[in-house]
């Protein structure tokens, strides 16, 4: 369950959200739509803890985001940004996934290597997991950016246009992953996610409204 209480947010010269009161369950995928520039990415950044200076309250499972400790965001939420290359810190997908698993320490826990291998094979990345990320094609990079979702986790997924730039086969894989997951998808391509039968929201005129 996520809940917004009198939630507002503005950039210095632009108001994005005004007095949003809304709550919805997080049991199956939620789709948040909105026109270009309506605030989808901003909302994702706020929920993931990257933008803390909003007004009003946001509660996740009845706990205020404002009361989260620093590590709590990373424990409970995984946020994948829209532009694939903005998600990586390392040079290859293999190294990047290792950093997701055990930070910069060199010590591997049991099973971590296997779960990486499984992830790459599921996303058809095995062949390219050792290549330099900036030499991959746009679509490959996008698929690579989704890899951390498949590591064993019980987090809420925040996905900003996760299908943008993916070909039909990759979209199919993505939809399979998303089935029945606690995910908030920010996208203006409703048709792609129809088979998930998601809870639908839309950002309209600084409000978030529920469609179904």
């Amino acid at each position: 369950m996520i809940e917004f209480k009198n939630f507002s947010f503005s950039f210095p010269e632009q108001e994005i959200f005004r007095g949003v009161n809304l709550r919805f369950p997080l049991k199956k995928p939620v789709l948040i739509q909105g026109d270009n520039g309506s605030g989808k990415t901003t909302l994702a950044r706020i929920i993931s803890g990257l933008i803390p200076d909003y007004s009003g309250e946001i509660l996740l499972k009845k706990k205020k985001l404002a009361d989260f400790t620093e590590t709590e965001f990373a424990d409970k939420i995984i946020y994948i940004k829209q532009e694939a290359e903005q998600n990586f810190v390392a040079a290859t997908l293999e190294e990047d996934l290792q950093i997701w698993q055990h930070g910069f320490s060199q010590i591997e826990k049991v099973g971590e290597e296997r779960s990486r291998k499984k992830t790459f094979s599921k996303l058809k990345l095995t062949e390219i997991s050792q290549r330099l990320i900036w030499q991959l094609s746009g679509g490959q990079r996008k698929r690579g950016s989704l890899a951390p979702l498949l590591l064993p986790n019980n987090k809420i997924w925040l996905l900003d246009e996760p299908a943008a730039g993916l070909d039909a086969l990759s979209v199919k894989i993505l939809l399979q992953l998303l089935k029945e997951k606690r995910a908030i998808i920010f996208s203006n391509r409703k048709s792609i996610y129809e088979s998930l039968n998601p809870l639908e929201m839309e950002i309209v005129e600084k409000k978030i409204i529920r469609i179904n």
């Binding site: 026109d35 270009n36 094609s137 679509g139 490959q140 698929r143 070909d167 203006n188």
Partner: protein, 215 residues
């Protein structure tokens, strides 16, 4: 006429194009279809001569616009032949404000200020981005950046327009606008080369080129 003659390209062991010949007439729109990493962007890079000028691999072949061999031009002269909306709009925006961004191309082509402003008004009306003109480019959303980058390329008024994934990250409303704009450009005689795997260009494209047939 845009003409590719016997173009081959391999990157490492990966043969992406194999003896490709392609001719496009003014007013023609071609849609390059194919899954991720099938070489769509590569073909656009070849038409824009980014391959072989900046990306090295095993390249052979020639690209002509009318009677001009594009490889014999200075790279900046390419801007008079074609506009190229690349995949990442971020890479194509340099200036603090949208208005400065849009003016940059024609300013380099030494168009007079009045003409530039008139073109800008037209392009902005078509794409409905007038309200963004004084906004800082860094503050735009991904979709808005893409619209602005497209507008900046339209400002060049070149006879060819290359578009790499123009629909990605664009809302349904804006996609509709983009299609209208492209249709108009096509009617005016512009050649359009669209690389996209989203099935949204059927009503615009005269020809569909599956990348699998070009290897």
């Amino acid at each position: 006429m845009l003409k590719l003659v016997d173009v081959s390209f391999a990157f490492g062991k990966n043969q992406l194009l194999h003896h490709l010949d392609l001719q496009l007439l003014p007013g023609e729109a071609v849609w390059l279809q194919g899954p991720n990493a099938s070489g769509k962007t590569t073909l656009l890079n070849i038409i824009a001569t980014i391959i072989p000028r900046f990306i090295h691999g095993n390249f052979s072949g020639q690209v002509f616009w009318q009677d001009t061999n594009l490889h014999e031009l200075n790279f900046p002269q390419i801007a008079t032949v074609l506009g190229f909306l690349r995949q990442h709009p971020q890479q194509q925006l340099f200036f603090p404000k949208v208005e400065q961004e849009l003016a940059f191309g024609p300013e380099n082509l030494r168009k007079p200020a009045e003409e530039i402003l008139a073109t800008m008004e037209e392009v902005c009306n078509q794409l409905q981005i007038n309200s963004l003109l004084q906004v800082e480019t860094a503050k735009l959303s991904f979709g808005q950046k893409k619209l602005v980058a497209l507008a900046a390329n339209l400002m060049l008024k070149a006879p060819i327009l290359l578009l790499d994934e123009p629909a990605v990250g664009i809302s349904t409303n804006n996609l509709h606008l983009i299609k209208q704009v492209l249709l108009k450009e096509k009617e005016r005689g512009k050649i359009l080369v669209i690389a996209d795997h989203l099935p949204v260009w059927y009503d615009l494209a005269d020809r569909i080129l599956p990348m699998s047939e070009l290897r």
